[in-house]
């Protein structure tokens, strides 16, 4: 039951590859269709979730707190789908939070920049150089987004098992490479990797449920044991720890909760252990 995560510099390119890969492997595709379900679960407009995935941080970062809340919901919803296995996931930034699970194959697909610049130049009636500058700006904005949202640079190849550029290699070949790679024994789930996935699912669920009341919490799960880190003023330390313990303890699958309160009022609340 391998899990394949496809990331791309261009949503449409990634989507096409993910669809084809899911088709040839007979896997389910987990894409932005699940955002509707997540939005319904948390009582939000779906557009807010899409916006949280697409828009870079604002200059004053005013919207940062809300964005992280929405991303916590997306993370929870996505991981719930991924635990089933035999899935291809795309467009939900899963490559930035599904880390440390050996049966997950992470692939990045890079679109043909020259072709994209040419298409953009023709579409907007601008020079190819200007089109390249626009694409570069777009790339940097998304890079900033990933840094702000998950403290990871999504353009860094070390976050992927494989990066395929479509400048020379065509998409059919890229799909073939993904299909063959998914059959490698390395991507077969093992008891340990399944546990790692379950831990991620649980920590994301806890984070999503507690985030609104305790923004900035960091959650780590290990076989039912939770370690939650939060920041608080000295005088409300005990009260906060108790409230978190009480709420988290009620979540199904949680056996033990440990809360670490960071006593530093100026330190921004850490976000996630990932």
């Amino acid at each position: 039951m391998p899990v394949i995560i496809v990331s791309s510099d261009l949503y449409r390119t990634g989507r096409d590859i993910a669809e084809s890969a899911a088709g040839v492997l007979g896997y389910d595709l987990v894409g932005r269709e699940i955002l509707g379900k997540i939005a319904e679960k948390y009582g939000l407009p779906e557009a807010k979730l899409t916006q949280a995935l697409d828009e870079g941080p604002s200059f004053l970062r005013r919207s940062s707190k809300l964005r992280h809340r929405y991303l916590a919901y997306i993370q929870e919803g996505t991981l719930f789908e991924l635990r089933k296995g035999n899935v291809v996931c795309q467009g939900l930034a899963a490559h930035l939070y599904v880390l440390g699970v050996s049966h997950v194959l992470r692939v990045r697909i890079l679109s043909d920049t020259e072709k994209r610049a040419g298409d953009l130049a023709a579409e907007r009636n601008i020079s190819p150089n200007k089109a390249k500058r626009l694409l570069d700006r777009e790339k940097k904005s998304h890079q900033r987004w990933s840094m702000e949202a998950f403290q990871l640079d999504e353009t860094d190849p070390s976050h992927y098992d494989l990066v395929i550029s479509l400048s020379q290699i065509d998409s059919t070949e890229a799909v073939k490479i993904i299909r063959e790679t998914a059959s490698y024994p390395r991507f077969k789930p093992m008891t340990y990797s399944l546990h790692c996935m379950e831990d991620l699912v649980l920590s994301s669920r806890v984070k999503a449920l507690l985030w609104e009341r305790f923004p900035g919490i960091r959650v780590r799960a290990d076989r039912g044991t939770l370690v939650i880190e939060t920041a608080a003023l000295k005088r409300e330390k005990d009260k906060k720890a108790k409230a978190i313990k009480e709420l988290a303890g009620k979540i199904p699958g949680v056996e033990y909760v440990e809360v670490h309160v960071v006593n530093h009022i100026f330190r921004p609340g850490p976000r996630s252990f990932r």
Binding site: S102, L105, R108, L110, T113, T155, D156, P157, S158, Y160, D161, L162, V163, I164, S165, S167, Q168, I169, D170, E173, I177, T181, Y184, R186, F187
Partner: protein
Amino acid sequence: MAIITISRGSYSKGKEVAEKVADRLGYQCLSRDVILEASDLYHIPEIKLVKAIHDAPSVLDRLSGGKRAYIAYYKSALTRLVRTDNIVYHGLAGHLLLKGVPHVLKVRIIADLADRVRNEMKQENISEQEARSMILKDDQERRKWTLSLYGADPWDSALYDLVIHVQKFTISNAVDFVCEAAGLEQFRTTGEAHRKMNDLALASRVKAALVGFNPDVAVTCEYGNVLVFVANPERTTRKLREKVKSLGDEIRGVNNIEVHSGTALPPDVI
């Protein structure tokens, strides 16, 4: 059939991948051979050339253009060697030095820092701290080198056709990927691809011959017709013009050679 360039950081197992790919495909594996060829062709001590192409250019290098001369010699030697095809090259910036040649499969092999440190500790018998600092220094030097000479970051995946992370993958898996990609139609040597490679080799050879006269000289070649560009007309010395003229007779394959000064450079210029 194809030219494969394998870019790698130190102790990233890229060398093993390159050797195994060459072995499986029956290709020639090149790395240090290019330095020996350049040293032989341009009569430069090997050690001087190694230092010049390894270390990032200093401020003085940038002003004097000394480093650019060594790169021109290296590029000339590399293009001369890979012209014959069926080559796996794992050395300095092959993906940038052979830019514009269609049948070049550009691969980068990466490994986790912790694994690289472990490999270096084992091979060099040094402490973890020493190994880590040497690897980071080497990476930084490579980054500075490529950024200053080509304005590109070697860590940018867009420069390669394939980036393979040898963590979950074994060396054998990486070899499979590279061999399979090398067999694709896009990387077959067509007549046009061969012509482009020959033009690049000619332009590189001309540049290497002229860089001593003017480090800012730029060269392009199409169908054996070589254009030499000098940005500043005042720097177009008589000696350079004479040398350009003589090159037309000296280098086989040059149909025509001209000097242009003060004109805009075409995009494929080297």
